[in-house]
């Protein structure tokens, strides 16, 4: 089930970002300096999070397992 949970989290993160971009402009505008903004930090953080999720998934399953949820 871990693959499906990871997928669900990833899709929720994407949806959350989409809603935040358009509906949360005021929130994202709270933190913006001459050098950086919350928006930029959030996007870079999301890209790194995707990589960490992949690393976590690779580390959490047996190396020679094709798919732990493949039930056919």
């Amino acid at each position: 089930m871990i693959a499906l949970w990871c997928t669900l989290v990833l899709l929720l993160l994407l949806t959350g970002l989409s809603l935040l971009i358009v509906l949360g402009k005021a929130l994202l505008s709270v933190f913006v300096t001459q050098d950086i903004s919350l928006y930029v930090v959030l996007i870079v953080g999301l890209i790194v999070t995707f990589w960490l999720m992949t690393w976590f998934y690779m580390a959490s399953i047996p190396a020679d397992t094709a798919s732990i949820t493949d039930n056919r």
Partner: protein, 498 residues
């Protein structure tokens, strides 16, 4: 700042170098391509690092290299959202598809679905889906290549398209997957090196301090460049784009097919993970390059070179490294397009030769050499078809055109592939209905989108307001697949899979 329509040595040397390298790969791989397995999946003898670089090369096309840099250069942080969508497709491949696809050991998506669901009648529809996805994606690559040749050498975009088509015809008829894979490996490595080189040259102007670069970007264009709202106004447009990029990227036929070029399931998953790492690093570099373009280039100069902003990176390279760096960036961008076209053509050729010719027309009686011959002819036909559609769509934004191909793949392929692997009650009837609804709906909405209605047909208004059909077509395909599967469960054929 002008593009060198009068050719300088600094521009010619990298182009000649890339061309000679491609010819060397072609000759080398032609000697090793003898069987259908060699042509379609490189004889399953590609290692994990090699496959990871080839996968990364397949995925990071001109739309990423030129498009994202240009979007950030013109619209600021909103352009970064495209990078999020493209990167998000990779974890999905690792989580869901890499190992199961390799374990099935099939050439094409049609093989995977028919094996999993036990109904060979799905093959024709899957083949049509794949061909449309390949053709849409190919068209975007052709338009990009034509634009690069036009901007750099002053030839017409149609001439540029013809040149690319001829190069690819020769390349595909002789090389096959082995040539495409090695071209991707070399291109991906070169692309990362060149991107780092340009970034290093940019950072040298800021005492190698990235914060100083960002500071200057804000000073030049104001704090608004770091905030949302310049590119996306509707949450539906943003969600639709991100879903299309992520789910479409995870179900592109030519990317999934690369899972079969390695020896086993473990290597397939490992190579997908390594590819994810390469793609993440590459996109972080691209984001910095975008802000370097904000700090160092004027928006008017970028728009003058190309209204879509696609020439921001070449302009930046020319500013910080002269004609030689410009030549390097341009040749790598062009090789990127050629390599992606090669991978797409192999995938499309495999579909036509193996699924349509071998399984439907010849009903399993075609031998490997016959499929190989049909595959080569199919490559030629696909390239000619893409040349025709490329002429029709020339002048359009290649980033949005690539997103069309991804949206079709996400609507027509992703639900069927996901449900076939993870949902036991999924039936052939559900797969057929889901794929058909996803394909028809995504194509219809693309035809009604602003890019086609206003950009191509020059109509004053459009019926469907979104550029990307993902938010409507993907859920519809899922719902139709599930409903029809539940209704037809009693009549489901016994599975023959794993």
């Amino acid at each position: 700042m002008m593009f060198p329509h009068d050719l300088s040595a600094g521009l010619i040397v990298p182009f000649a170098g890339v061309l000679l390298l491609s010819v060397a790969i072609l000759v080398w791989s032609a000697r090793r391509t003898r069987t259908a397995s060699d042509f379609f999946i490189a004889g399953e003898r590609i290692g994990p690092w090699q496959n990871a670089l080839a996968l990364a090369g397949d995925f990071v096309a001109a739309a990423g290299l030129l498009g994202i840099t240009g979007l950030i250069a013109l619209y600021g942080a909103d352009g970064m959202v495209f990078a999020v969508g493209i990167v998000a497709g990779w974890p999905l491949i690792v989580f869901l598809f890499a190992a199961p696809l390799k374990q099935l050991g099939k050439y094409t998506l049609a093989d995977v679905l028919t094996t999993k669901l036990g109904d060979d009648r799905l093959r024709s529809l899957v083949a049509i889906n794949q061909l449309i996805v390949a053709l849409t994606y190919l068209t975007a690559q052709f338009v990009g290549a034509g634009a690069i040749l036009h901007l750099l050498f002053g030839v017409s975009e149609t001439t540029g398209l013809l040149v690319v088509a001829v190069i690819m015809l020769v390349f595909m008829l002789m090389g096959g997957m082995l040539a495409a894979t090695w071209l991707q490996i070399i291109k991906a490595t070169a692309m990362i090196c060149v991107a780092m080189l340009v970034l290093g040259a940019c950072l040298a102007r800021f005492d190698f301090n990235p914060v100083s670069l960002l500071h200057d970007a804000v000073s030049v264009r104001g704090p608004g460049i770091m905030l949302p709202g310049r590119l996306f106004q509707s949450p539906w447009e943003t969600i639709s784009l991100l879903l299309g990029l992520a789910l479409g990227g995870a179900s592109l036929p030519h990317v999934l097919m690369r899972m079969n070029t390695v020896a086993d399931a473990r290597t397939a998953r490992k190579s997908a993970f390594l590819a994810t790492s390469i793609i993440v690093v590459f996109h972080l570099i691209i984001l910095m390059l975008g802000f370097a373009a904000v700090a160092l280039l004027q928006p008017d100069a970028i728009r003058a070179a190309d209204p879509g902003g696609n020439m921001a990176l070449p302009l930046l390279a020319q500013l910080v490294g002269g004609d030689f760096l410009l030549g390097l960036v341009a040749s790598i961008a062009l090789t990127t397009i050629l390599a992606v076209v090669a991978g797409l053509c192999i995938s499309g050729a495999a579909t036509l030769a193996h699924d349509v010719w071998g399984k439907v027309i010849r009903m399993g009686k075609a031998d490997a050499s016959e499929e190989l011959m049909v595959g080569r002819v199919a490559s030629m036909l696909l390239i000619l078809a893409a040349l025709g559609t490329g002429v029709i769509f020339q002048g359009q934004n290649i980033g949005y055109m690539s997103a069309f191909g991804l949206a079709i793949a996400a609507s027509a392929n992703f639900p069927a592939l996901l449900l076939a692997i993870f949902w036991r009650p999924f039936t052939p009837a559900g797969a057929f209905a889901g794929m058909l609804s996803g394909l028809v709906l995504s194509l219809t909405l693309i035809a009604l989108s602003p890019l086609v209605q206003i950009g191509v047909l020059h109509r004053p208004d459009t019926i469907f307001p979104l550029q990307n059909p993902g938010i409507v077509a993907i859920p519809t395909a899922f719902i139709v697949s599930v409903l029809v599967s539940l209704l037809s469960r009693r009549h489901r054929l016994a599975p023959q899979g794993l």
